[in-house]
């Protein structure tokens, strides 16, 4: 079913950060954590890449993530992620849209299933061919609405979503382990070079 035809799903396009960001001293009225495409990695949002920025005015309307949203990058490589409860309230920038599903907690579509589907490599290639622009292929709202998500019984969606979410968690754990092991190598060299002196 096309995203635009899902009755339990709303497409919310991100807002330009420059409209609200405090760019000069004295303009700041508050701050918000913002969701940039760089923070969407391998099917999840990396909390360490979520930035806090000063805001000059308070955004109105649906500018922030809610739990169970699906965040989708609008430009290549069209990264997507499920938004967990711990990452509610991120300001959604204009290079991202969120798919917001109604139902408590899940209606007829499982957001985890949709996020996992959008993360499939073949889907990413499909989105690239559907997007406009050669230098930077970008999706507009109509093109997001035209994305076709295969219909499955809710139970099957849940099982596929469980695999996708568990895989995203494992990817994140591996990245964290990689980072700490790089630090271990640096520390070993620091010690060796220090002794050599």
């Amino acid at each position: 079913m096309r995203v635009g035809d899902m009755r339990d799903c709303r497409i919310i396009m991100g807002s330009p950060l420059r409209r609200y960001e405090a760019r000069e001293k004295g303009m700041q009225r508050g701050s918000h954590r913002i969701l940039l495409p760089t923070a969407i990695v391998d099917g999840s949002i990396d909390p360490t890449l979520v930035e806090e920025r000063p805001f000059a005015s308070e955004p109105s309307g649906d500018c922030f993530t809610m739990r169970y949203d699906v965040a989708l990058e609008l430009a290549a490589p069209f990264a997507a992620a499920f938004v967990p409860a711990s990452l509610e309230g991120l300001f959604v920038t204009s290079s991202i849209c969120v798919l917001r599903f109604s139902g408590d907690p899940i209606g007829t579509h499982d957001p985890g299933y949709v996020a996992g589907y959008l993360c499939l490599e073949s889907v990413s290639e499909l989105l690239r061919s559907a997007a406009s622009g050669l230098a930077m292929p970008t999706l507009n709202k109509a093109q997001v609405a035209a994305i076709d998500i295969p219909e499955l019984p809710l139970e099957a969606q849940r099982r596929a979503a469980a695999v996708a979410l568990a895989a995203a968690r494992a990817f994140a754990a591996r990245r964290a382990l990689d980072a700490i092991e790089r630090q271990a190598v640096s520390a070993a060299y620091a010690e060796a070079l220090g002794e050599a002196r």
Partner: protein, 458 residues
């Protein structure tokens, strides 16, 4: 004929003069100058020069150079500038009621009176002028470095911009130093530029005389600059289009260019040489060049000459990140005669990891540019080495390096990796984090395995 609403122009938000055509802005600028001169005639010693009646467009060509000459400015340059403005454009400006005597009180405090601030903005607004843009953020950095590194101001000190363009650097220096430079010299080959520089300095409150603010080719041997200077600031790209410099530079550099057309690289390089030649003992110069052009291989001999003679104190690469800047990447050359150039050259790159750690707010928008300029001035004057951002490279190392580059990246191999690594996490902390990461990975793998089994079993 539609009259230009000069009062409306004055009421526009600063920096929005771009909605007006360049000819309108030129005409308005000259009209403002005359209005300012008339409003302040007694103070400026102009009684009787401008008369009382309304100005006529045809009069301006005669009145502008006469007024300029009475102020000690280059009257010929003003005459040429006034003649370059079409009478119809001048007439449209003069048709505005906004320049009647007494209606523009430009003597007021710009901090208090917004009309005065806007008038100054208009005089400064050259955003539409491709040839003579002044890059205010970069000018702020130049002022910061010069005030930190240059000799102290004083009655004997002389300040010069031999390629002044619209005088943006001089105005910024005058303002930043609180008007403490008693004498300024400026030249440009373009008459309009000389006139605009003079106007802006006058409106800024400079009263040191204009005998050395002249239309001239400062890169020729007959430049009329009368000697050497304690402080020089300039943008080398304003040297474009000059040929006079051929007679004023060392023939060995010209020989590198024989048989091929001169490029921007050549002109900027030779401008650097000329500035070095204008420096007095103990003097300091800051020259802005485009980064890409200045490091072309053809300039190897030039760089070696400057380094060999201990003339280069520092080279600072400024990427195109400054708020409001339209310029491509610039390099700020700090030259000195009798300064620290003999001990080596400080190479700085205002980008990347080093800068982010040392001064994260350097490129933050707003008023922070003044603080950034002060910070940069301190960095250059102290010749401080910051990992991945600045280092002092000895003269002999530069001269021995192929191409003798004067940019940080050319000597990145000299970075002390061991000292950089030393700041990392302690081994115990790493071991603890690794155990936690392994446990999380094991848990995630278990969950994935269970999810896969469950998926298959159903």
């Amino acid at each position: 004929m539609a009259a230009i609403d000069l009062a409306g122009l004055m009421g526009a938000a600063p920096g929005h003069g771009g909605t007006w055509s360049l000819t309108d802005v030129f005409a308005a600028r000259l009209a403002l100058f005359l209005a300012y001169a008339r409003d302040n005639a007694p103070l400026l010693g102009l009684d009787g020069v401008l008369g009382e009646g309304p100005l006529d467009a045809a009069d301006v060509v005669a009145v502008a150079p006469r007024t300029a000459s009475a102020l000690g400015m280059d009257g010929d340059a003003f005459g040429e500038y006034a003649s370059s403005i079409a009478p119809a454009d001048m007439a449209r400006v003069l048709a505005s009621g906004g320049i009647e005597p007494g209606t523009l009180v430009l003597t007021g405090d710009p901090e208090v009176d917004s009309r005065v601030r806007r008038a100054l903005d208009l005089l400064e607004d050259i955003g539409q002028d491709e040839r003579h843009q002044t890059f205010l953020p970069e000018a702020e950095l130049v002022a910061g470095v010069l005030l930190a590194c240059g000799p102290a101001t004083g009655s004997a000190r002389r300040l010069c911009d031999p390629m002044c363009g619209h005088g943006g650097l001089l105005v910024r220096l005058h303002r930043t130093s609180g008007g403490t430079w008693p004498k300024m010299a400026a030249t440009d080959v373009d008459a309009a530029s000389v006139a605009i520089t003079s106007i802006r300095l006058l409106v800024e409150g400079y009263r040191g005389g204009f005998e050395n603010v002249r239309q001239a080719d400062s890169l020729s041997s007959d430049d009329g600059l009368n000697g050497v200077f304690d402080v020089i600031a300039c943008e080398a790209r304003h040297a474009a289009g000059r040929r006079g410099m051929r007679s004023a530079v060392d023939p060995r550099f010209l020989s590198e260019m024989t048989g091929r057309p001169w490029t921007k690289v050549d002109v900027e390089g030779l401008a650097l040489l000329r500035v070095a030649g204008l420096l007095a003992d103990g003097g300091t110069a800051v020259v802005l060049t485009t980064t890409a052009a200045t490091y072309a291989l053809a300039q190897t001999g030039l760089r070696q000459y400057l380094v060999e003679n201990g003339l280069v104190e520092a080279c600072v690469e400024v990427p195109r990140r400054l708020p409001s800047s339209r310029q491509t990447g610039l390099t700020m050359w700090v030259l000195s005669r009798g300064g620290g150039g003999d001990k080596g050259v400080l190479l700085v790159v205002l980008d990347g990891d080093g800068l982010e750690r040392e001064r994260p707010g350097f490129y933050a928008p707003g008023s922070s540019i003044k603080e950034s300029a002060r910070w940069l001035g301190g960095l250059v004057s102290s010749r401080r080495e910051v990992p991945f951002m600045s280092m002092v490279v000895p003269k002999d190392v530069i001269l021995a390096a192929p191409g003798s580059p004067l940019r940080f990246s050319g000597y990145a191999g000299n970075i002390d990796v061991a000292s950089r690594l030393a700041g990392g996490l302690a081994a115990d902390e790493i071991a603890m984090r690794r155990r936690a990461a392994l446990a999380e990975l094991a848990s995630a793998e278990d969950e994935l395995s269970r999810a896969c089994h469950e998926f298959r079993d159903n």
